[in-house]
């Protein structure tokens, strides 16, 4: 079926008046036949049939004025006469003015995330604020603002909320006009116990044991040449254990939320080819904890304590012939993605022997992660002159007690070895709590 529209007869023309139908519904028309007389603001002329057939419907009364582009009639087969008319005479082009359209001012339409039609447009004045009912939790996005007020949230917050299933109705907005901003989400997440997600939790990731270079001891005890790198590491470690009064503090981190977070991040990063590892999360969490606890980010040199402004985190990498620890400069200032890319690049080049001296000489804090080797826990030796080193063990699926219930979750033990000349137990414990806090509230890693 072909539509006959009100034609545009000149740039200034916006509407036309149908003066007279020259054909009636049911009449046979040939292409080029005049079917109606129209009048513009300048001229009177005829509309011609664009194809042959039967005039099936006329949709505009004589004398009506309609915008250009409006369908005024249809042409089709004989059997279509009088039926199957398009829904309405609607402008299909250049509909600048929509006089008949109701103004689109219903609040629900503005609430991008509100389920259409689910909520009344206006909340009753007594609508409880900040109280989550079961119904609200069941709906995708409650709108629990006072007096039906529009929920204001920054685009970033809306994205985070939908990715992490956060109910924005529960979040206080500190921005202008009550806008919910990133800091509000951070506060909200910090104060919230992560929901048990045992069923959805990922299995502990087993990184390929790419750097397993455990030397095989010859059965007969033949002498093995020690690599240069091993000699230097050995000297430094001996010096460290000899001179530094080490003490150790351990804690267990609930990694369920972190694994979940990693799974979500990697799903969204898949297209760009990047993948965030558990170690990347540990690096970022440690960097943020160091920023919160700057006394840990120190070195002990010649009986003096040096406070480092920059947080440069070394990552111990096992390579053929020994161990090397390139560092990620200003790790607290880098996004998780940037840390991940840099760590991957440094690791690859470390194993290929392609590191530049300025990439491993330096650093203010070291992380040694044996998580990929299935270890319960271990203690690392301080990398002098730094004041501490963090040893990270494997993530294990384990029964956990949460809110008085036994659930299946994921745990990881971390142990800090600290120089007692530089640090005391309480500040180290506080720092570890901070690392743990960031790892257990992984969205903070994305927010900072």
């Amino acid at each position: 079926m072909a539509e006959v529209i009100m034609p545009k007869m000149g740039d200034a023309m916006e509407e036309g008046t149908l003066l007279k139908w020259l054909k009636n519904p049911g009449d046979e028309v040939a292409e080029g036949d005049p079917i109606a007389e129209i009048e513009t603001d300048k001229v009177t002329l005829e509309i011609e049939a664009a194809e042959s057939g039967f005039l099936t419907n006329t949709l505009v009364e004589e004398g009506d004025t309609v915008p250009i582009g409006t369908t005024v009639a249809t042409i089709g087969g004989e059997d279509e006469v009088g039926k199957g008319a398009p829904e309405s005479a609607k402008p299909v082009a250049e509909a600048d003015e929509e006089p008949e359209e109701p103004a689109a001012d219903a609040p629900a339409a503005e609430e991008a995330e509100a389920p259409a039609g689910d909520e009344p447009a206006e909340q009753p004045e007594t609508a409880p604020v900040q109280v989550a009912t079961a119904e609200q939790e069941a709906s995708a996005e409650p709108v629990a603002r006072a007096d039906g007020e529009r929920l204001r949230a920054s685009p970033l917050v809306k994205r985070l909320a939908s990715e992490h299933s956060i109910d924005l109705g529960q979040v206080n907005g500190s921005g202008p006009g009550g806008r919910i901003v990133k800091a509000d989400i951070a506060d909200f997440v910090s104060g919230k116990t992560p929901a048990p997600k045992a069923a959805a939790a990922a299995t502990p990731q087993q990184e390929p044991a790419q750097a397993a270079s455990a030397a095989k001891v010859p059965a007969e005890g033949a002498s093995v040449e020690i690599s240069k790198m091993k000699q230097r590491t050995g000297e430094r470690m001996a010096e460290s254990k000899r001179d530094i009064p080490h003490f150790y503090v351990s804690t267990v981190v609930d990694m369920s939320a972190a694994l979940d977070f990693r799974k979500q991040s990697n799903a969204s990063l898949e297209e760009s080819g990047g993948k965030v590892s558990v170690n990347d999360l540990v690096v970022k969490a440690t960097a943020l904890a160091l920023a919160d606890n700057p006394t840990i980010n120190r070195s002990y040199v010649n009986d003096q304590l040096l406070q480092h402004d920059s947080i440069d985190i070394n990552i111990a990498v096992a390579v053929d012939g020994g161990l090397i620890a390139p560092f990620i400069p200003a790790a607290d200032q880098k996004s998780l993605g940037a840390i991940s890319r840099l760590a991957k690049d440094l690791g690859t080049r470390a194993r290929e022997g392609g590191l530049k001296p300025n990439e491993y000489q330096g650093g203010t804090f070291t992380i040694s992660n044996l998580g990929m080797f299935d270890v319960d826990e271990f203690i690392a030796v301080i990398n002098p002159p730094q004041a501490a080193i963090l040893a990270v063990a494997s993530v294990r699926e384990q029964p956990l007690v949460r809110d008085g219930r036994v659930v299946v979750g994921h745990q990881m033990k971390i142990t800090l070895a600290a120089d007692h000349r530089a640090l005391d137990g309480a500040e180290v414990a506080t720092f570890l709590q901070s690392v743990k806090h960031y790892l257990e509230h992984p969205m903070l890693l994305a927010l900072s």
Partner: protein
């Protein structure tokens, strides 16, 4: 690395390229015998002679047109506008001919022309002699527009500009000819379309070009004292434009302030703000702020001139707004 002034780095780029390439010539008012109003070309006439360092009459439209003709015929002229304000006299040649000949000729005719000179204000030259024209020239397809701020960049970008096959509008930081910085010896180029991260930070992205970059670095120092780590991006190249660096930064910081000396309406900062909302809408935690020149012709009186241009205090206020520090 040797330390040079912005002026000397610029002169070195031109002199070195003139030694390498005989087709490079300089044109402009008082650039030869007098050494240039800003002494950028000082001494070059002694080294290269009056056929390659050409003192022109006071007729921007005429000598710019002559340079376009020379460029079409295979030479590589570098034209000095004593200040960019005088380029209005030559705007017809620049916009109607230099920018369009390649297009008109279906790519058969290139115009390897550089037009350079001091841009912007801050030195009490009053309304007719104080304009920031990056938005104006950046508007026209066919022109490349750059605005280096460091001595290292000004040399590398001038070499890139002279070798570019198409017309380049080279906007120098007029108030900074005497500033010093490390400049590599010898031949190197800084490619167009790549912004420079002048300082890394995770809390807020500050974007500028030209002398406002230095202002941002000072503001970033102030912010660091309060624990706010600002990332400072020097655009360097207005057209072509490096969207990627800005978007990557904003995705990290979720906030941006764009600073420029020119007027706000229809400006570079407006373009940056638009690109950010196009490409990083879901990462924004606050509206993008623009800090710009006051909407008046540049005043002569020192106190009014200072008030008409972005100040460190204005920028700090804008940063506080995007960080929501007012409401806390």
């Amino acid at each position: 690395m040797p330390v040079k002034t912005y002026r000397d780095a610029l002169r070195a780029a031109m002199a070195e390229e003139m030694q390498r390439d005989e087709s490079v010539v300089l044109l402009g008012e008082d650039i030869g015998v007098y050494g240039g109003t800003h002494l950028v070309t000082n001494g070059l006439i002694d080294e290269f002679g009056p056929k390659r360092v050409i003192d022109t009459p006071i007729s921007e439209n005429g000598f710019t047109g002559a340079a376009i003709g020379m460029a079409m015929a295979g030479m590589k002229p570098v034209v000095e506008m004593m200040t960019w304000n005088f380029s209005f006299q030559a705007a017809d040649q620049i916009i109607q001919n230099a920018a369009k000949l390649r297009y008109f000729s279906g790519g058969q005719v290139h115009v390897p022309l550089v037009i350079r000179g001091p841009n912007g204000g801050g030195v009490q030259l009053s309304a007719q002699h104080t304009h920031s024209l990056e938005g104006f020239y950046g508007h026209f397809p066919g022109l490349k527009v750059v605005s280096p701020v460091t001595p290292e960049d000004v040399k590398g970008m001038m070499l890139e500009a002279i070798r570019d096959p198409d017309p380049v509008i080279f906007l120098e930081a007029g108030a900074l000819y005497g500033t010093k910085g490390e400049v590599p010896d010898g031949d190197y180029t800084v490619g167009f379309g790549k912004a420079r991260v002048a300082r890394e930070g995770a809390d807020v992205t500050l974007v500028a070009y030209g002398r406002q970059v230095n202002m941002l670095l000072r503001v970033a120092e102030e912010l660091a004292k309060e624990g706010v780590q600002a990332e400072v991006i020097d655009l360097r190249s207005i057209r072509p434009f490096d969207t990627e660096t800005i978007i990557e930064s904003v995705k990290k910081t979720n906030r941006a302030v764009v600073v420029q000396e020119q007027w706000r309406w229809f400006s570079v900062a407006s373009e940056v703000a638009a690109l950010i909302q196009e490409h990083a809408f879901d990462y924004l935690d606050a509206p993008v702020e623009r800090v710009s020149g006051a909407e008046v012709p540049a005043p002569y009186a020192r106190n009014l001139e200072v008030a008409a241009f972005p100040s460190e205090a204005n920028i700090l206020e804008a940063v506080q707004r995007v960080l929501y520090q007012e409401s806390k």
